[in-house]
Amino acid sequence: MKEKKLGLASVIATGVGLIVATSCLLSLGQGASAIGVTIIISMLIACVLNILTALSISELNAIMPNLTGGLAQYTLACMGPFVTVIAMVGGYLVCNTIVGSAECAMFGNTLNSVLPQVNIPGNVYCVLLLLILIIVNLGGVDIFAKIQNIVAYGLIISLVIMGLIGCFKIGIGDTVTQPAVISSDFKDITSLCGLTFFLFIGCEFIIPISNQVKDARRKIPLGMVLSLLIVMIMQTFLVIGFKNYTNWSDLGESATPHVLYGTLLLGKAGTIWMAIVSILAVTSSINTIISSLAYICDGMAKINLLPSVFMKKNKKGAPYVGILLIGGSMILINATGLSTTSQLSFLILTGCVFWMITYIIAHIDVLILRRRMQKAPRTFKVPLSPVLPVAGIIGTCWMIYNIASDPAVRIQIYVVTGIIFAILAVYSVIWIKKVLKAKLFEPFPVKDVMAMENELYPVFHQEKYKIKKISNQAAAINKNI
């Protein structure tokens, strides 16, 4: 049994590290340049809605503890395989691939901003980085296993320091005199909630460490909520810093707002500092995405939600089909040459819609399990249920409705999302009817979903499937004779 040694500080550090990504800074820069410091109100709304999601996920973890597939497994037990496959498996994989591609583009943009004299397009850097990470992952080597946390914390500490320096106007650069508020219209503020939602995404990734945490039932929900609040405070400092040191228009146009801010705040030293930290953070994040999504595909194949080809491992033990598929998709997206702020924002917002849908499903899962397993002991319960989960559902739907301020962009996002969901729905129906031979909307019993987590489950069940197949073949041969 693993020793439970992680405390609340470790939970918060992990949470903040997982929530903050370099591409978040692009969203922050874009949002702040559009309406000024009133973006903080939009951030607050997005933060509150993410806290509601954190509470719902904590309750799901309390009733179905320590599941590696997380939201997919909760949904399989609540709504059956159809919703699980299209929204959770497909949606989650697709949105992570999309968001990962945006994060990767930040790598190219950062290198271009610090090496303007080298005339190489940003997407060439991205494709090269992806190729290297695919090869490394195929080799079964996690180059970032030991420094992943250090890199993430490096980014966070750098942002906190930069934010505070900017906030208190103690940078070596010239301060800028400009209006703090560009728009205080509530409609403008709410139209940016989709963008600010992205700043707080990812607190559910804390769940997998819960079995290593002392007093996890109290510290995991608390850690998730505190992580979100800390991110909120950190980003608030940055917005005020932006106001003091960067022109709103320059900030909105920059594809690397963190490097621009670092330069204007601390000169060349700021440029180098932010560039090194963000390049390491981006590389680490993309490596994690490729590796973890490949293992999620492996896990989904184990419970029969994806083809068994995803379980195949190479000689080094790496799930190579998933690595090639996820890495390959990211190369294709990045090869299109995306790099401008509008392209990246579009990609981020599209990924956000998928993510928001999974969060809505998490709230619905809580309500379903409250009804279906009323008496099951829960070490954590969402307070004021069903009010808070319902508020979470309504709020997140409202954010999807406000995903972009430009109606044309919004429609484009809905079209892309709709097409991807339609493709996933076709796959889902065929897969469930032909392979899984299950009813589309019939939930799996909770005990079965919990059993699927056991490493021996696929071994025993595939054995049974093989025996059944052999006996069917034997019966057919006998019949012919």
């Binding site: 503890p65 909770v446 059993a451 049974k464």
Partner: protein, 120 residues
Amino acid sequence: MMELSKIEIITSMAKVNALQEAFGQFGITGMTVTQALGCGVQLGTKEYEADKNTSPALLPKQCVMVVLPTEDVDKFLEFVKKELYTGHIGDGKIFITPVSNVVRIRTGEEGCEALTEGKL
């Protein structure tokens, strides 16, 4: 005389230590733990196995027996359920029965007095 209840908890071997450490907070003054073999409705089938056993397979378990005032039972059960819950098959069962009396043989004290540290 204060009403008493007997709680018998059948659970996996690994869980007893956690219960043992936490029982003090409920004013429980004694407990009896027995090693047992048994099975439930699954007839000892492991949760990952594809086919249910046709004949019972007895699995090693621990049976924890405590007696406590009936008024504390609900709070105690709430604690035990949360402590033992993993969501997996085999978490165990709790049996609650009324106790008509308890006698401490050495002193002859009865009821609640027999369960607490007496003066005699």
